[in-house]
Amino acid sequence: MNEKERDVIVETVSRVMIPFIQLYALYVIIHGSGGPGGGFQGGVVFASSFILYVIAFNLAGGRKRFPESANTLFSSLGLYIYGGIGLLAILFTRGMAQYLNYGFIPFTSHFEENRALGMDFVEMGIGITVMAIIASIFFDLAQREEPVGEKEEK
């Protein structure tokens, strides 16, 4: 996309919108365990902010801000959080509690509060992975399309 095709209105609006979309995504992730929403939805909303960036600016810039390596890192990080927090329950109680039994992880002194916190961490893990995967699917689809489109224009 060359300089002439840039649209001032779209760019300015998305520049304002993107932080709010991301903030909203974080809100959806954090409140996932107690209200509507959750890790998956929040992750998709977060990834949609990247899509907006690419539509408003350009693909190369978007890829530069969220490179392939970050994709790999975040998608694994989320899974690590998800799987690891479950294993913590086993480790802290030396095998007394089962996998994913968050109540036994000593975040605080209350069983129920621990369970709620554990669920929050899991939601965060899901959110991070979903965000990375959705963004990577989008980038893969967008990059495949590009060379064909350029050829057709010429």
Binding site: T72, S76, L87, N101
Partner: protein
Amino acid sequence: MSNFIEHLPLLTVVISLLSAITILIAGWIYKKIAWWISLVTHLSQFTFSLWILNHVLTHGPIHYRLGGWVPPWGIEYVMDPLNSYILVILLFLALFCLLYSKRNIEHELPKKVVSFYTVYQLLLTGLCGIVVTGDIFNMYVFIEIASLSAYALIASRGKIALRASFTYLVLGSIGACFFLLGIGFLYAVTGSLNMHDLSLLLPPFYKNRVVIAAFVFILVGLSIKMALFPLHTWLPDAHAFAPSEISAMLSGIIIEVATYAFIRVSFSVFTTQFLQLFPIFEILSWIAAGGIIFGSILAMTQMNLKRMLAYSSVANMGYIMLGVGLSTSTRLGLIPPLIHILSHALTKACMFLVAGAFIYKADLWYIKDLQGLGRKMPYSCMGFLLSALALLGLPPGVGFVTKWYLIIAALESKKYIFVGVIFLSTLLMVFYFWKVIEYIYIRIGEEGAKEIRIDEIPWSMLIPVMVLGSLCFIVGIVWLTEIPLPILDRVNSLFKLGRVP
């Protein structure tokens, strides 16, 4: 210590998942470490599975409640003799396929090493999950994980494999949909997803049409996954064009795990009581007999070695399902199919690995190109010969044991025609395996007079072939001594099988 063993079924699944993502990150930094991480994971998983089997046989089944939730609400992992037996076979074979894959993948997919092992580990997560779970919806989820990674692994070769993978993807998704629909119907009737709970809640509804429809949906869905005869169309291409270790996994494990899922659903969720209300197993054994003949005849016509082996897998799935079909009417119960799951896993995996060795060494895909290889690659050809003879039924190979028990089962249930089917298919099997053996050992070709250099595959690929090839006979002898039969007797008593009605 027993407390730790309770966690093992879960840990086999979780460490596999965590190692998949560790491979992804570590391989990005240093490519060669991917295989080592995978090896360590496989070794520990295999050790866990042996430990579980030992514990189940000495202390009884393991029940594990995920997250501490009580079963009808939470997910439960249950290990009983059937599970643990299948889990050991699965991880044993996966370990050998992994050993084989080190050099083969470096050779075939040099750019995709890291992603290959990541997806391979995910495949193993799915397969272990299907085997250990005691919750029917959880089983569906794991079937999806295993299938999706299998599609990716088949497609990893590119070109024609992409088409094969896409066919498998479409048919596999249809199968998964049918399975899910069946689960949905069961949930609508009972309101539960736990297998044990379902088996307690279902009996009053055995004549309910929704429940019957659910069973048929699950049967059809899993038949696609296990490539039972009329629904096998995805299998030959997928097996032929995948990387060889994945062909070995597909043929030796993935379709067997689908069979396990079917056995589990039909005996643990529905009981023998339900199965005897309708002639469903009788129909199943006729279909399986058709599959045996059809698969063998089509295998005869194949020119491509891996496609021939793939059609032979269709025939062998027929053997397994014939055993399952006869299981309610004999004293042997599930013994023949469970023995054949092990026999087929060992022999067919070995043959696919040897077929992969020919491709690795000289890019030989067709049977007629294999002339004189018996002198060039003596050890891998020996592996092929051993496993082919074992599958044919040369005593004391594993195939002999299965055919022996299957024939006894057929005679006991007074279905003499199946004895004829087994004999006929053995004849056909001799025909198509002998064709390969003839090309390898007897037809030397024009260069026969020349001096031939021994040109073997690397040791890391040869060892799995040799071990599997010799195990084909060692395991056969072990079965004939009847030492491991108590495991299978326990499976029978678990499902209230093994009594003549």
